[in-house]
Symmetry: C2
DNA sequence: GGTGAAACTTCTAATAA
DNA sequence: TTATTAGAAGTTTCACC
């Protein structure tokens, strides 16, 4: 995967858009002392380059009644079953993230649920997938850090 | 945390905006056979209710040279150190997520890095935090599932 | 609640520098 | 690459259902 070169202006534009996707280009232009047209052209280029994949809303799932987060480590009987198990995981509602991993677990996933009862149902469905030998659940008591914006800063402040 | 009641229209609006935050309200209105003003008012209400917290860009960090993802389980010497350790974690660049958890680990975090060398530096910084007894790293070989959009569907298709 | 239209703001593409 | 500009498009408000 090729590394794409962004300059300071691109960085600032991304910074403002990461904070709020709907920031008007005119506002960005004013702040960076460039024209709105330039902002438009640069954003378009970053989209074409595939740097900007898309945009999404951040919702408060707790307010929708979904306050429960757990990470579930999955042990497989055999790694050849990985692809199959991922497919099955993908079909289980409320499994929002899954990674194939090295280390302790073969697959590692994130579950969002209403409460412990609801989470139990989801985790049991994971346990029941053919090829899963056992799972280990880590319940989140608090999401203490979750900061996309800072990652951008970290990337740009690297030497 | 109170549960907020969203109707089918709100749901559809969120669905379209989760897919692309910049979807014009006029497009949404056309599709849902309501007026753009209504879309505007409903979005504003969801923002005021705190359901919509904000919006953010989705970037391809691999294209920026950051292809490495790892999850790090942190064991503490004593849970009373949790708050302190979280603060320290927050000061380490490229630690993008951290949860306080029950189960195996006391704290669980996600690291985004350039490569294994870079990741090593970050993980060593985590190991060095006072109060951390040891860590366990799970390297992501593949992010197989990561779907916010589906979560919304799951929530709305619940009985 | 919702609508439709007016007033206002922003976007976008073409042209020019 | 960037700036300007002007027409197109989108947003937001408001009087009225």
């Amino acid at each position: 995967m090729a590394k794409f070169k962004l300059d300071e202006i691109d960085h600032q534009i991304l910074d403002m858009l990461i904070e709020n996707t709907r920031t008007p280009f005119t506002d960005i232009a004013k702040k960076l002392l460039i024209s709105a047209g330039t902002v438009h052209v640069r954003v378009k280029k970053m989209e074409e380059a595939g740097i900007i994949i898309g945009s999404s809303l951040t919702l408060d799932y707790r307010k929708l009644g979904y306050s429960f987060i757990a990470y579930v480590g999955v042990y497989l009987q055999n790694t050849s079953q990985t692809k199959f198990v991922i497919e099955r995981l993908n079909a289980i509602p409320f499994v929002t993230v899954a990674h194939i991993t090295t280390g302790k677990f073969n697959i590692f996933c994130k579950v969002r649920a209403k409460d412990t009862q609801h989470a139990k149902e989801i985790i049991f469905r994971i346990d029941d997938i053919e090829g899963v030998s056992r799972t280990e659940t880590m319940i989140s008591l608090e999401e203490s850090i979750n900061d996309k914006k800072r990652l951008m800063h970290d990337i740009f402040n690297q030497l």
